[in-house]
Amino acid sequence: MKVSLFITCLADHFYPEVGEAVVHLLRRYGCEVDFPPNQTCCGQPAWNTGLEDEARAYARAYIETFENSEYVVMPSGSCAGHVRYYYPQMFKDDKEMYRRACAVADKTYEFSQFLVNVLGVRDVGARFPAKVVFHNNCHMQRELGVFEEPLTLLRHVRDLELLDNPRYDLCCGFGGAFSVKMPEISTAMADERLGIYVGTKADIIVSCDGGCLMHMGGRAERQGLPVRTMHLATLLWEGVKSNGR
């Protein structure tokens, strides 16, 4: 099976180990992984700040880069949601582009979604002794409709205690540019969200989105909270390695 990687801008710049983990895990299941070098960003920052034309240009570039791929996999529910949910909408007045946008959206997957729903994986064979709470990123649960898949993967990790997420519906306050345009509200939201997680006594907040992790991680560090953040792909790959593969 051939899989093209889309490594989101946040993963590329700040969390490249997340991308590496995705590569290793996909190869473990026999995927032939390629990384088209001309990719940049999905364009969500442009879309969310009201720059419609710019956002459309990003969508066009993504479509051109990936339309010949069999599958596109990325380590972000938010970006995958953006591609699947908004790309077709952006071209609803252009029949040909709309068709191409739909085609590429249909084969775009968030990493855990691909692992569980396409590859049929439930247990990656990882061991990771920690108390973990999973943070459902908003766009992944609401735009992409992915909810159970990451939990399934986590439930099969040996020695990992998966705690209930009280208020799985509550945003961490990142919201892209929102975090710097409205930093006071954004920080208040992070504090509330983190307070609930600290209350679960979790060691690690796991998520499928670099944005949420960067936001909650950055605030937790600043406040000296006893919880750290980790991407699901990193956790799974670390767990596989420590389990002797």
């Binding site: 940049t40 969310n48 700040t49 710019e54 990142f174 710097v180 345009k181 605030r219």
Partner: protein, 489 residues
Amino acid sequence: MAADPHNVPDFKTRIAKALGDERLRGAVRYTADNLRTKRNAVVADLNEQAAQRMAIGSFAELRRQARRIKEHTLKHLDYYLEQAAERIRQNGGTVHWAGSAADVVRIAEEIAERRQAKRVIKSKSMASEEVMFNHALEAKGVEVVESDLGEYIIQLAHETPAHIVIPAIHKTRRQIADMFGAVAGRELTTDTPTLTKFARETLRKKFMAADIGVSGANFLVAESGTICLVTNEGNGRLTTSVPPVHVAIVGIEKLVPTLEDLAVVLGLLPRSATGQKITTYFNMITGPRRPGEPDGPEELHVIFLDNGRTNLLGSKYEEALMCIRCGACLNVCPVYRNIGGHAYGSIYPGPIGSVISPLLNDLGAWTDLPQASSLCGACHEACPMGIHLHEHLVSLRMDTVAMGKADPGFTRVMKLWMAAWRRPAIYRMAAKLGRVAMRPFVKKRADGTEVAESLPGPFAAWTNTRNFPPIASRTFHERWSDLEKEGKR
């Protein structure tokens, strides 16, 4: 709608004030959580009953039906308005058309003058808040008293509603006891019976003395001309039946074509608003007192309110007119729960307020509200009508940019950044440059990891409260060639 009923200069100041008020935030979060929990339970119960074929449909089915009803109504709004007006007249009522807030006030003043009315009792109505009814009539020397407990509380506090359904959501029991105590002239305890007894005794006298009763309408059935009121306190019933004149202020979007349609939307409203299957009172008013009837008002006036609504018809924002004012989007909104209603500066707060306040007024004057969202989508998920609130917020941001009303500095930077970053070569080079530029601000910690705790310029908005990670020593793009070779081995 007034630009700013709180006379606080700008949004940032209002936000800071709200965020600094722990008592307010605590009260808002407590009640919002309560309402959300009850709503979730009653929706789950409905779905369970639907699965056993004991209900008229699951929540999702009701929502689909309701959308179909509203889509149809909005598409033929002129027809249904005429039909409703004709039925109201046949029932013995009088119909008025108000294009603006000022029209409502003028019509109400004319009625009050003709009846030589001095006292108005009012049932809860967001439409009347929208046109600042109380303020206008009081200026004419007419006493207006709110009869809904929550509205009465905020009237005593000289405030506007902080929530569409729970006007005094931001008030604690202690604050309410203090306000009531000041009116009573004696100290009151904070227990519910004491407080409600005081309000009931005070308001009963007001009902009996009122010359005019003013209500809104949760729905208006076009085929019968019936005004529908959903309340839990019975104040709606007294307001519309005790005084000799009843005036209903009705937004034109409140219409449903038939009584069967009413059953669908009525199934959604209390469940979404307060987590009740049905409210304590539900009034259907079809005309004033008829000859030989002992109760009811002598006159019934319906004022249909436009106030910007028709601008939405046929636009990409039309579905915002489907809103049934249940407040469910407020109760789940992570922004609303942290800043409360007044920080929005609009009569309609929360996600729906951030959408309709700019649309019913002037987007140019309300550009801040659509920015005040992380676009998490919880509002759309909770909305019984399935209004795509977070998408409309994005759309309003686009309109703001197109109008040239977006924050100029921010927009310029975003445009430049987005235009450059789209080009692969520049994108890759930017990572290298960024790494170098960040270097002076990155510090190494004891465990060898690196962090930026203070960044200059616009990035300070992040690092004032949050750490920022440094750009990796090798980006994924830079690591790929190694990974590729590894794969070929």
